[in-house]
Every structure is written in structure tokens, then in C-alpha cells.
């Protein structure tokens, strides 16, 4: 099973591997959600939704349903 941002726990980090361009708005890509970039889950609202992320230095919040479409790999260092 592939790991996505929705699987991250608070404080965990990962690297974006693939984004399915069908499900992800261009705006999110433009804000830095691109393959190779680091992502960290900073905070979650109740029921883990929405999720407050730091992607590539940009702090933003997305809903869990969107987070499920961003595939990541766990970051090796740290």
C-alpha cells in the first residue's frame, strides 16, 4: 500500500513522490506540492481534518480527501 500525506502523524515528515494531477488542483502544485519536496504535518484539526502542512517551506492547510492523493515516501534522514 502506498503511503500518502493522509497517513502522516503529527510531527512526521516525508518527501512528495507523486501527485495525481487529476485530483490535485493546479493551485496546490503551484504552492509547492511537487515531487521531491519535503512535507511535514504540523497540526491537525479534530478528526485529523483538515491537515496543516509545511510543504517546501509553505505553510498551508488541505482537507484529508486531498491529502489522500499525494503519495509520499518517508524521509530517510531525521
Amino acid at each position: 500500500m502506498q503511503l500518502t500525506i493522509a497517513d502522516l502523524k503529527r510531527g512526521q515528515k516525508g518527501i512528495v513522490k507523486d501527485v495525481s494531477s487529476k485530483e490535485i488542483p493546479l493551485k496546490l502544485l503551484e504552492m509547492g506540492c511537487l515531487p521531491g519536496n519535503h512535507v511535514e504535518l504540523l497540526q491537525v484539526a479534530p478528526f485529523s481534518d483538515p491537515m496543516y502542512l509545511n510543504i517546501n517551506g509553505t505553510h498551508l492547510a488541505i482537507r484529508k480527501e486531498t491529502a489522500k492523493h499525494i503519495i509520499i515516501e518517508p524521509s530517510t534522514n531525521e
Binding site: 515531487p35 497540526q43 517546501n56
Partner: protein, 699 residues
């Protein structure tokens, strides 16, 4: 020879673009709308050295030229249309030193339009705090432009920016990215058909719904004999374009920017641990709301009492100084009380705009969006609906415009439909005067009964909005894909200048817009109340004197009887009496009825209307509140404004859709008369029913 330079300010949201605009123009700015649409258009004039003037236009904040909302399309439409009178001679792209990488994406796009582009790196005062150092010379060479490193907070670098603007002709207009690299075949084919056009512009026309010059999407599709791309192919290419741009930016920043993470501090993370916390976050939000209401109530009281008394004495002074006659009466009984009815609310409206602009400026509003999203979604709304619902406490019109960044059409439509339930500033005048009349002094847990009642009115408005959203969400069958992306900017201490300008501009707009309507209505009402048809009105003196011939009345008492007899038989009295049967079950008399009917133009007219009606024919110049307190109920005796009728009035105003401007905006934003008519009919019926129940239960 002075020539005007057209400057367009462009930048991502939260980069301090507005601060740069304010620093350049000061109060020398005007806010209007783009023709046909309601996107706010801010422009101003900046005086440059050597007598040159710059005409500065502050474009809506956008993350990229790939527009996803109406506000963003304004940016691209202007930049593609060389014939527009505002087409910029030079573009100023404002970036935030902390988010340089992301902010530069937009810069590369603007540069590719071959417009001379100045890069502003703002918030430079935070560089050492964040451990950032920049090699400006290197960046200028690589990005092929001039850079102004400024700090609007410390007022640094603005003069540098001005001299860059004046020398804009020396800037290079080479593009950053060669768009051909994204898909060589496709773009070379395109170039073959349109050899004289900028490829990036053509690409924007294909991917966005905009036209430039005589070229639109269809002419391109017709003229290109090679296969046009499908929607998903286009999106894939846009993704590729974005990656290419970031590669370019990363290369530039690798050498041009060093970040020493060890010395970087981030207060945002610590603050967010508390402010977006599952428990504390919500408690703090509630606390902030409570503080706002307590403040609006108690801080504004003194200036309001002062204004109220000043208008009464102004009226009195004028009536003694001006010669007796119809015009004096029109001024002292019609216009001054009518205007006083709106001027008195300036302190409260200003406080409300003050708090809202502080919440926005500080970056806290995004946290509220984050906290509330899941909850709001249950009601068919989005976390982003919180911003319209909170701004709706100032005015529904900007609030409805603020729904534009809600990505899902269904969530947006529901937000538009329910926003008018929130307690807007125009309801305040009505609420405050009624609360002052019917709610006793006293405190509960340190909060006065009066502010508490006001808070309850706000909560009722909010509950009505959320409740009807829930119903609409169940009823409406609209399927729309919902995206939700919200940036969480760093916390900033709000800049005094920005907050001040917002408060002044918004309050001014509110008072003048409302003032015009109120002035007109006051004059019409005064005439209708001062003249009447038939014997009953014209021979009032004789009739009343005869009627009370057997009773011993002083001259004053007799005059008062005559005045009220005249009012009852004036044009307005006849109209009011005609509608009285409808509103009598709610506990109102015909005078309140006139107030309600006239406030279908705008709610705040109510107080002005009553002030005009009550002052016609009376000589003593009293405050509006005292006049209202003296009114008696013509059917059951006792004060007209008692607990039952007061609560009934409060509830009526809480639910009724009484604002023509809001209806017009809803029509424009939804592009259909169906929704505003639905609002008008449903909201007003609910208002009538609830006011009826409240009065019948409480009386």
C-alpha cells in the same frame, strides 16, 4: 514634461502588497469596482521625483497567472490587454523574503509576458530573524531585473522603489523560461501559425478563458491544423510548466539565497500549537469574539451619546436661528434627524471594521478557517465560509464578494445565500436603540445585560445562517468537486497605517452610501408626513379644538394633540394605517410599520425614519431615544416599546432580508435572479413568523 507612468502592483496574498501600495500612495487612493464585475479595484497616485506621477493599480492577490477565481482573472485580463487604459508600463511584483521561492513563481510568469518587471522583496527587516541572507547582485543578474529590498514596516527602501519605477525603461524584457521546452512539437506548431505572437501569451489564452487583442481560444483552435490538446493533457502540461519554473527558481536561489536554519526562529509554530489546538484554539476564538462584542458596546457608548446630543442641539439651534417656514422645518425635522440616525453609528461601525481588519492583517483569520472547516462542512459550508460570515458582521456586500475564494460552487452558493443572516452593521442601529429602550441595566458574570443581548442577537444571526445552510445542503442537488487549500501565513503585528486606512475607507463608504439613501428617504418621508389630503388634515386644528373643548388642556397639550392628529391623517399616516392590520399582531403601530417598509431599501433607514416621523410637528428637539421612549401603544396602552414588542422587532430585523444592495450583489455573483428572490421571500417570511410568535408569547 511630465508623463504618467502606469504601474501594476502584483503579488501573492500575504506578501504585504497592500502595505507597499499604502506606502506609495498614502490616503491618495480610491477604491472602485471593475466595470461589470464587483472585484475591488484599488488605484492611487504616487508623486515621483522630477514632477513625474505614477498611477498605481493594486491588483488582487494571486498565486499565479493560472486563474482559479474571478479576482485572479482580473489580473491576467489586464496584463494581456495592451489597449486597456490601465495596461502597465511597468509591473511591480511584491514578494515576501520568507517565501521567496514560492513568490518567484508568479514573477517568472509576469516576466514571460515581456512586461518590464521590478522585483520587490518585502519584509526585509525579518531577514536576520529568519537567518536569511541574499546576494542581491547575483539575483538581479539571474532574474534579469532590478530588485528593491524594502521593509514597509520600517519604512525602508520605498525611495529605491520609486527611483526604479521612474527608470523603468532601462529594464530588460527578456523572458525567464522558454515555454517551448515544455512540449517542443506543440509549441513550435503554435509558433508556426502565429509567428508574431508571444508564445506564453498564446498559452495563457489556451489554458485560461481570456482573450487578448483579437485572439481568443477559438481562433487558436481553428487556425491550428494540428491536433488540439485535451483538458487533461493541458493540465499535465501546466504541471510540467510549474515544475520547469521551480527548477529555474531553485537554481537561482541555490546561489542567491542562503538560509541559516540554526539562527532561524519561527514563532508561528509555537503560536500555532496553541491557536490551532483542538481545545485551546476554539476557546481562544470564542474569547476573541466575546471581547469584540463587549468592546463594540462599551467603548463606543461615550462618542455615541455625544453625537446623539449634538444632533439634537444642532436641530434646536437651527430652528431658533433660521426663519420660520417650510424649509426650516424640512431641515430641522426631516434632514437632521434622518442623518443623525446614521452618523451616530460611526463609532460602532468603525470599531467593527477595526477588529476585522486586525484579524485579517495579523494572519489569525486563516487559523479560524483551519479550525472551522470540518465543522462548517457538516452544514454544507467550507472553513473559508467563516471569513464571509465574520465579515458579514460588518456588511453582507464585501462578505458575499469574499466568498470568491471558496473552491466548490455548492459551498460557495450556500455561503452566499446564508450570509445575509449574519448581523451586519446596518442592523446595529436598530438593535442598539431597541436594546437601550427595553433591556434593563445590570450584569451577568461581569457582562452587562445590554451587551449580552447584543451578543445573543449576533449568535441568533449566526445560528440562522448555519441552520439554513444545513437545510440548503440537504435540499440542493448540486454536485461539485471541492478543493480546499488555505495558506497559513506567518503572524504579523498589524501595521497601524494599513488598519487605519481600511477603517477610514470602509466606514466612509458605509456612511456615505447609506447617507445618500437616508437623506433621500428622510426628505420624502418628511413631505409625506407634513402634508395630507382632505379635511381631517387641513382642518386639524379646528377638529381637535372642538373635540377637546370640554376638557381643560394647556396650550402645549392641545398643540401636541393637534400635531398627532395631523400626522395620523397625513399621507404617511394613511399609508401606515393601511398596513397596520398586518403588523399589529407583531406588536407594532403604524409608525413602526412605516419604518419597516422604508427599511426594505436598507435596514439602517429604520432609525432615521422613526426620528423623522416622531419629530414632525414637535417643537422640542429631543434625542431619538427619548422620543421613542415616550411613545405609547395605541391599542393596549403602556409604552409602545416594551419587552414583547421590542424582542419581536429585534427578531424581525434579525431574519428579514432588507437590503437592496445585497440583493443586487447576490444577483451579480450568482448570475441569476432566482437566488436573490428566494432570499427575499424566504427570509422575510421567516422574520414575520418568528416576530409574530415572539410577540404573542411574550405579551
Amino acid at each position: 514634461m511630465s508623463k504618467q507612468i502606469n504601474v501594476a502592483l502584483i503579488g501573492n496574498p500575504n506578501t504585504g502588497k497592500t502595505s507597499v501600495f499604502n506606502a506609495l500612495t498614502g490616503l491618495n487612493q480610491k477604491v472602485g469596482n471593475y466595470p461589470g464585475i464587483t472585484v475591488e479595484k484599488k488605484q492611487g497616485v504616487c508623486k515621483l521625483p522630477r514632477g513625474v506621477k505614477a498611477h498605481i493599480i493594486d491588483l488582487p492577490g494571486t498565486y499565479s497567472l493560472n486563474a482559479s477565481s474571478l479576482d485572479e482573472s482580473v489580473v491576467i485580463e489586464l496584463l494581456l490587454n495592451k489597449n486597456d487604459k490601465d495596461y502597465p508600463d511597468v509591473a511591480v511584483v511584491v514578494t515576501d523574503v520568507e517565501n521567496l521561492k514560492r513568490n518567484l513563481l508568479l514573477y517568472t510568469q509576469i516576466k514571460d509576458l515581456k512586461i518590464p518587471t521590478i522585483l520587490v522583496i518585502n519584509m526585509s527587516d525579518r531577514m536576520s530573524y529568519k537567518g536569511i541572507s541574499l546576494d542581491i547582485d547575483y539575483l538581479e543578474t539571474q532574474l534579469d531585473t532590478k530588485i528593491a529590498l524594502i521593509s514597509t514596516r520600517k519604512g525602508k527602501g520605498i525611495e529605491d522603489l520609486k527611483s526604479l519605477i521612474i527608470n523603468y525603461k532601462t529594464l530588460s524584457i527578456e523572458s525567464c523560461i522558454d515555454i517551448r521546452n515544455i512540449d517542443t512539437n506543440y509549441f513550435e506548431g503554435l509558433e508556426h501559425v502565429f509567428p508574431n505572437q508571444s508564445l506564453y501569451k498564446l498559452w495563457l489564452v489556451i489554458t485560461q478563458d481570456v482573450n487578448f487583442g483579437k485572439i481568443d481560444k477559438n481562433t487558436i483552435n481553428d487556425a491550428t491544423n494540428f491536433k488540439t490538446k485535451s483538458e487533461s493533457d493541458l493540465k499535465r502540461l501546466q504541471q510540467k510548466e510549474t515544475i520547469k519554473r521551480y527548477q529555474f527558481i531553485n537554481n537561482v536561489l541555490k546561489k542567491g539565497q542562503t538560509i541559516d536554519l540554526k539562527s532561524a526562529k519561527d514563532i508561528r509554530i509555537q503560536l500555532d500549537r496553541i491557536l490551532t489546538h483542538k481545545v485551546w484554539g476554539y476557546l481562544i476564538f470564542l474569547g476573541i469574539l466575546l471581547l469584540i462584542f463587549q468592546a463594540i458596546y462599551s467603548w463606543a457608548e461615550t462618542p455615541m451619546d455625544f453625537i446623539d446630543a449634538s444632533f439634537a442641539s444642532l436641530s434646536e439651534w437651527l430652528s431658533t436661528k433660521l426663519p420660520d417656514g417650510v424649509f426650516t422645518n424640512l431641515i430641522t425635522e426631516g434632514i437632521i434627524p434622518g442623518l443623525g440616525g446614521i452618523v451616530i453609528f460611526i463609532p460602532q461601525i468603525a470599531f467593527l471594521f477595526l477588529f476585522i481588519s486586525i484579524l485579517e492583517e495579523s494572519g489569525y483569520m486563516s487559523r479560524v478557517v483551519f479550525l472551522m472547516d470540518k465543522i462548517m462542512r457538516r452544514f454544507g459550508l467550507s472553513g473559508k465560509s467563516v471569513v464571509p460570515l465574520i465579515s458579514g458582521t460588518a456588511c453582507a456586500i464585501p462578505a458575499i464578494m469574499a466568498t470568491r475564494n471558496i473552491e466548490s460552487w455548492k459551498e460557495r452558493l450556500i455561503t452566499i445565500l446564508v450570509t445575509p443572516f449574519t448581523t451586519c452593521a446596518a442592523r446595529l442601529p436598530v438593535y442598539l436603540i431597541i436594546i437601550a429602550l427595553i433591556i434593563p441595566e445590570g450584569t451577568l458574570l461581569g457582562i452587562g445585560y445590554k451587551p449580552l443581548t447584543l451578543l445573543i442577537m449576533y449568535l441568533i444571526g449566526f445560528a440562522a445562517a448555519v441552520g439554513s445552510a444545513y437545510l440548503l445542503n440537504k435540499i440542493m442537488k448540486i454536485r461539485s468537486k471541492s478543493y480546499f487549500v488555505v495558506e497559513m501565513p506567518t503572524y504579523k503585528l498589524p501595521l497601524f497605517k494599513n488598519v487605519f486606512i481600511t477603517v477610514v475607507e470602509k466606514t466612509k463608504a458605509f456612511v456615505f452610501d447609506a447617507g445618500k439613501i437616508i437623506l433621500a428617504i428622510s426628505i420624502v418621508l418628511w413631505f409625506l408626513a407634513s402634508y395630507g389630503p382632505g379635511d381631517d388634515f387641513n382642518n386639524a386644528e379646528a377638529i381637535v379644538t372642538e373635540q377637546y373643548a370640554s376638557v381643560n388642556l394647556t396650550q402645549d397639550e392641545l398643540d401636541e394633540k393637534i400635531a398627532s392628529h395631523k400626522l395620523e391623517h397625513s399621507f404617511i399616516g394613511i399609508t401606515g394605517k393601511a398596513i397596520e392590520p398586518i403588523i399589529q399582531p407583531l406588536g407594532y403601530d403604524w409608525k413602526i410599520g412605516i419604518g419597516i417598509v422604508s427599511s426594505f431599501a436598507a435596514r439602517e433607514v429604520f432609525v432615521g425614519t422613526l426620528a423623522t416621523i416622531y419629530s414632525v410637528g414637535t417643537d422640542d428637539e429631543d434625542t431619538i431615544k427619548n422620543r421613542m421612549a415616550k411613545e405609547t401603544n395605541p391599542f393596549i396602552g403602556g409604552p409602545l416599546y416594551n419587552l414583547a414588542s421590542g424582542i419581536s422587532l429585534l427578531l424581525f430585523y434579525a431574519f428579514a432580508m432588507q437590503c437592496m444592495s445585497t440583493l443586487a450583489i447576490v444577483k451579480r455573483e450568482t448570475n441569476s435572479w432566482k437566488w436573490p428572490i428566494l432570499q427575499l421571500v424566504t427570509m422575510s417570511s421567516i422574520a414575520y413568523l418568528i416576530a409574530l410568535i415572539a410577540y404573542q408569547v411574550l405579551k
